[in-house]
């Protein structure tokens, strides 16, 4: 730009300024409106969309599909189209050149014109770049495969306890028992007859920190026969999952810690009304999750009876049917009543192997089978005697004075 052009620009600018507006209040007013709008937008996003809860970082999780932040996605997508051997050109040279050009733009673009139609080259180059970035971002988002199911994410203490209890039921009960009481292990391959000490005692709770529990679950106790459960050591659990188990143990067994009321309610097995017929959904599932599922699930080699779903409980295994609605001598009931059942193949022993279920839990199973073994709460309600379906009650005889 030569002196004459500079001169002309300055005159032109002075003229525009002359017929312009005051910075205060005109511009300040507009800026305030926009700032306020953005603030409302942000508060709205924070309240109504929030920040998605993500599981804790787990370097051992190889199934996680890494993605950069959305505003770097275009670069990520762009690199996919660059052949591997010259990947560095796409990763460093091209972005480096773009940034350099961006910095030096005022010195590269010597065109003195300012109106868009007189700067067609610059405008179209920028348009191509911007459209390219937008298109690559959209393409990257569209082609992103959904993240595989990872660890359950538990936010509040109550959620953690509930998730932890479920995981404890799945992974720990077969050796440590439903209440961490331990004892002799029955029916676990390789550990048959091993006696496990209680992990829920006051001694244990008072002398072991959360970190110790975490590490024991993560690495296992190889000398004592406990396999590692942490994914980094060949187990199935990520760090978040192990933490929920520790939280569950601490809040449930440590008498110095008070379990939140919500969590206690959520983990209690729902009580039954006097004539109520229990359902799988509400009652039986809760018991099964705590006492049975640890051994009776897919992937366990030592038995063929699975209890993860209603259908499995009714029909899985070589001895099916396991539950015949209305039959007090259904296989499942005889097994938990610890009765001898000769002549079955494979054999069915008393369940749970080490210790009988509590009387009230046996009662729930008994009433469930006799009441027709309903699956959902709605079905159970339909089967339950209700005031409407019950035969009309005779009026109470009036008390004679």
């Amino acid at each position: 730009m030569n002196e004459e052009q500079k001169q002309r620009y300055q005159e032109r600018y002075a003229e525009e300024k002359q017929k312009g507006v005051k910075f205060y209040p005109d511009i300040i007013y507009k800026d305030t409106v926009v700032a306020f709008g953005l603030f409302i937008l942000l508060v709205g996003l924070a309240i109504f969309v929030g920040v998605a809860n993500e599981p804790k970082a787990d370097p051992s999780d190889t199934s996680y599909i890494p993605r950069p932040e959305w505003y770097f996605l275009f670069l990520f997508e762009f690199l996919k189209y660059v052949p591997g051997a010259i990947e560095w050109v796409g990763a460093a040279v091209i972005p480096g050149v773009v940034i350099l050009v961006l910095f030096l733009l005022p010195f590269i673009d010597r065109n003195p014109n300012r109106y868009w139609s007189k700067r067609k080259l610059a405008i179209s180059l920028m348009a191509v770049i911007v459209l390219g970035i937008v298109a690559l971002t959209i393409l990257a988002v569209a082609t992103t495969p959904p993240q595989p199911e990872t660890d359950t994410i538990a936010g509040t203490i109550t959620e953690q306890i509930v998730v932890g209890e479920e995981l404890y039921g799945l992974h720990c009960v077969e050796c440590h028992g439903p209440d961490g009481e331990g004892g002799e292990i029955v029916g676990v391959e390789g550990l048959e007859g091993v006696v496990v000490k209680s992990i829920s005692s006051q001694d244990e709770m008072y002398t072991r920190s959360d970190e110790t529990f975490y590490n024991v679950i993560d690495y296992g106790q190889p000398d004592l026969g406990m396999t590692p459960f942490g994914r980094a050591y060949g187990g199935e659990l990520g760090p978040g999952a192990i933490e929920t188990i520790v939280t569950f143990m601490r809040y449930t067994w440590d008498d110095r810690v008070e379990i939140p009321e919500e969590a206690a309610l959520a983990s209690a097995i729902p009580a039954l009304g006097p004539d109520e017929i229990p359902s799988y959904e509400v009652h039986v599932q809760a018991i099964v999750k705590r006492y049975c599922i640890s051994c009776h699930r897919q992937g366990k080699q030592n038995n063929d009876y699975f209890m993860s779903t209603y259908e499995e409980i009714m029909e899985s295994g070589a001895n099916a049917p396991n539950v015949i609605p209305g039959d007090i001598n259904s296989l499942l009931l005889m097994s938990i009543r610890r009765e001898e059942m000769p002549g079955l193949d494979p054999e069915v022993g008393p369940m749970p192997p080490t210790k009988a279920l509590k009387e009230e839990l046996l009662e729930i199973f008994r009433r469930w089978v006799l009441g027709g073994a309903p699956n959902t709460a709605a079905e159970a309600e339909a089967l339950s005697p209700t005031p409407e379906s019950a035969p009309p009650a005779y009026p109470e005889p009036e008390a004679t004075p």
């Binding site: 600018y13 507009k30 937008l41 924070a46």
Partner: protein, 219 residues
């Protein structure tokens, strides 16, 4: 009384001078697109304030970072709101700063005499992206961890010096406590200092040169 106080302050602070040169100056008539610069400034301020509040409870160590964020979200009064604003503010920042750049480009505002305003603006755009990149790791969740893993791998593809660059970024072979410490310090000290300084120069230039007008056919 008020005027007496004002006069006393004015004598010492030069308030009238500031008012005349900053607030009471003529500006070419412009449209709403020209508010994006001050919108960016507002967002920087908001990110700064919410960020300062977040540092009260945030712990920059891999063992505690995730839990400290959980505590901010579930335990601290309105912690979820502060984090929500900071989280979405980052996204909005990138969008607003980028559109602000496109506006100045379209209006040819980078030309004489505002070349340096543009250069400082590019520094601010890159610093904004840097803030996004370093801030993303801090919650130490799966998304953050893996995004940083791939992000720091990109310079590693450069021949010869690449692996060294990746090591410098990570402070070791993998993402570790050192990476988190480096990103945290970049996020709350180095980059904000750079941004504050550059915004100072950017603003000085804007006030000194005035904002550009919308070019017409004769320009």
């Amino acid at each position: 009384m008020t005027s007496k106080v004002m006069n006393w302050l004015d004598e010492r602070l030069g308030l009238t001078g500031i008012y005349d040169s900053v607030l009471d100056r003529n500006i070419p008539k412009v449209n709403w697109w020209f508010t994006l610069g001050s919108a960016s400034l507002f967002l920087v301020g908001l990110q700064g304030i919410t960020g300062i509040f977040l540092t009260v409870y945030y712990v920059p160590s891999p063992d505690h970072a995730y839990d400290s964020i959980q505590y901010i979200m579930n335990g601290v009064a309105y912690g979820w709101l502060i984090r929500g604003i900071h989280h979405w503010g980052a996204t909005l920042m990138v969008i607003v700063v980028f559109i602000h750049m496109l506006r100045t480009f379209y209006c040819a505002a980078y030309k004489y005499p505002r070349e340096l305003t543009w250069v400082t603006g590019v520094v601010l755009l890159l610093a904004t992206l840097g803030m996004g990149f370093t801030g993303y790791l801090l919650p130490m969740n799966q998304k953050a961890y893996w995004a940083t893993t791939v992000g720091t791998e990109i310079p590693g593809t450069i021949p010869i010096i690449g692996p060294f660059l990746t090591q410098v970024l990570r402070g070791g072979v993998g993402i570790s406590a050192v990476t988190l410490a480096r990103f945290f310090s970049l996020h709350i000290w180095f980059l904000p200092a750079l941004i504050a300084l550059t915004i100072g120069i950017h603003m000085y230039l804007i006030i000194r040169l005035g904002i550009s007008y919308i070019p017409t056919k004769e320009d």
